[in-house]
Symmetry: C2
Subunit: 414 residues, 2 copies
Amino acid sequence: MKMSQMFTKTSKNNPADEVSKNAQLLIRAGFVHKEMAGVYDFLPLGKNVLDKIVQIIREEMNKIGGVEMSLTALQNPETWQATNRWDDEVMDVWFKTKLSNGREFGLAPTHEEPITKLMRNFISSYKDLPSYPYQFQTKFRAELRSKSGLMRGREFLMKDLYSFSKDKEQHDEFYEEISKAYLRIFDRLGLGGYTFKTFASGGSFAKFSHEFQTISPVGEDTIYVSHEKGIAINQEVYNDEVLAELGVKKEDLVEEKAVEVGNIFTLGYKFSEALGLKFIDSDEKEKLVFMGSYGIGPSRVMGLIAEHFADDKGLVWPENIAPAKIYLMQIGEDAKELAEEVYNKLTNQGIEVIYDDRNTGAGQKFADSDLMGIPYRLTISSRAIKQGRFELVTRKNGEIEELTIEDIYNKFMK
Amino acid sequence: MKMSQMFTKTSKNNPADEVSKNAQLLIRAGFVHKEMAGVYDFLPLGKNVLDKIVQIIREEMNKIGGVEMSLTALQNPETWQATNRWDDEVMDVWFKTKLSNGREFGLAPTHEEPITKLMRNFISSYKDLPSYPYQFQTKFRAELRSKSGLMRGREFLMKDLYSFSKDKEQHDEFYEEISKAYLRIFDRLGLGGYTFKTFASGGSFAKFSHEFQTISPVGEDTIYVSHEKGIAINQEVYNDEVLAELGVKKEDLVEEKAVEVGNIFTLGYKFSEALGLKFIDSDEKEKLVFMGSYGIGPSRVMGLIAEHFADDKGLVWPENIAPAKIYLMQIGEDAKELAEEVYNKLTNQGIEVIYDDRNTGAGQKFADSDLMGIPYRLTISSRAIKQGRFELVTRKNGEIEELTIEDIYNKFMK
């Protein structure tokens, strides 16, 4: 995309009302706009990154049998009264609203109840199981305080998959599958080395649930990492009994601050019982469906990645989710023709390029390229044209290469 | 996709609580699920169709310079008080909600106010104009009655583009461009011959606005169509003065019932003035930005298309937006191997196929194929294998061809 077509601009100053680093950087770089605390618009560059995160998650969910659909935000009180989660005392993040005739609705903070009710239409036999519907959907949560930028929103995107199994055995098999899929996702998002499957409290049904925690100095959680086993334990279940059960020793664990980037829950019969989701098994007996739920917040993950990799010049996107691979700078009028040619040739090959074709000084262009965090910066200047060698800088480590145009094509057009 | 992997099922009976034909059919065929009046989940087949409609609109918006972003549902009262549209007496479709501390929010029924305010960050000079941000976003409208299925939702998807121009001349040029883009969209959606650019009341600023109206017996609007000129006039501005201005005669117009599928508005300075969106022009004078807004509801259009083309057997999707091109039926165990082979070969070529691999009678499969409205039905049966010729039926006209497997590959793999 050409900068002249993009309607956003970068800003030198941090927004006065924003305390979180991810939001400060994303706002300054023109990726998001703050409507109010915890409520962010996604501008073209930000939407591009978010879409790429969504697509990686989608591919991994489809690979393990996930089927995509989309539930609604508006919710019926009756559906949630069945599990006693309509009450604000029980679930304190409800945004509730109503029609002028007084009929009340809620805005879904999660979707266990409606999906369980929906599946009553489609599950009647063991042959209908297992089933793995999922969605990317906007959740609403009435958080009183919301100061962590994209990492704790009042309105945010969520991938939620629900598993419906005929028994615990069928469930456990999928639970292992999706654990692996989650690790593949965080790997592809560039968080591989920092993200651990973490044992956490299981709630009323299971002994453990599992979180995926990314080590980060801004983390609000404390975890204990076993690098040897590639797992971690949340502080909330960090005790001798659990250590013994997992076969790890205190002295091998490293205490870290971490951010929760995903979670997977065994729900068991909690929702199927309350909402009457049953099936006839092969033994002709009627049984309750065994459920699980599995979340990742793409916008939260985007906030974490922004914050995690940033340096003092700005954002640094992993290549897989960067809004473009190359930031193409043109310096000087006589460099325009070649810059256009390179831009067209690369984009025609499907390589995403941000072409800074503005009549702006080189300093501004360098600064914007760094702030936006595009993986490679290519400079086409009159001097470089004379020399036949062009500067290509890698954002994440500042490495500089002097390449011919031919070299550049060879490097990116694989 | 294999039917055995899809979690939805068709139903023989019309849902008892649903009066609109589009929702009845879409529910029976397993495309959508009704949460409550005007609030529908999109199940995998329905989401597939909706995504295709969205993609066609996106391509046409990008072609004319649109840049995609995504605004929020939650709205700040202050933003809307500036135009006096926060008041329920002025805008009666607000869903309003609040935090436990009393702080009030609204759920956006449209987005003129927040986009105008947002653009104050990015528009300061005539060089920043024109600009055409757009989004696909969920709108919320607190309609008291909602009985038209997907055609009038309380929660529904909307494409809204906003134009920001330096003057009326720049605006008018784009207004013509997007009018043409809209006609291309409805053409690609299969509504070409039935959809007319329709002159309607312009509101406070412009003489006319334009609606895109599709002729349909279920339409709630009355329009007068000039087939010769390819335009129509809404009843609300159907008078001698307008007829004279448009150069059409009463006797050349045909009265029709129609459904509004899109609209385009010249907004002028209404929002830029109220919210202070100004720029410095080339003459160094400060001026207000000239605005327009342009809507299409993809879910509404989907409802209309469902209803418009349906026959007594069920849905009939235009090829461009059908959830699959081919409904592949396998009849008899010994047809399984070839059916699998054909399924794999077609899907590997990127052709979408619904493969009915269920252990169900042929009658059920025929009925489901018709109800779902897939453009072609291909039957692989033991009898056909013996004869070397396979029945391919075109859904929309019932045309039957007897083809070899080679013929079938040639027909679909272009």
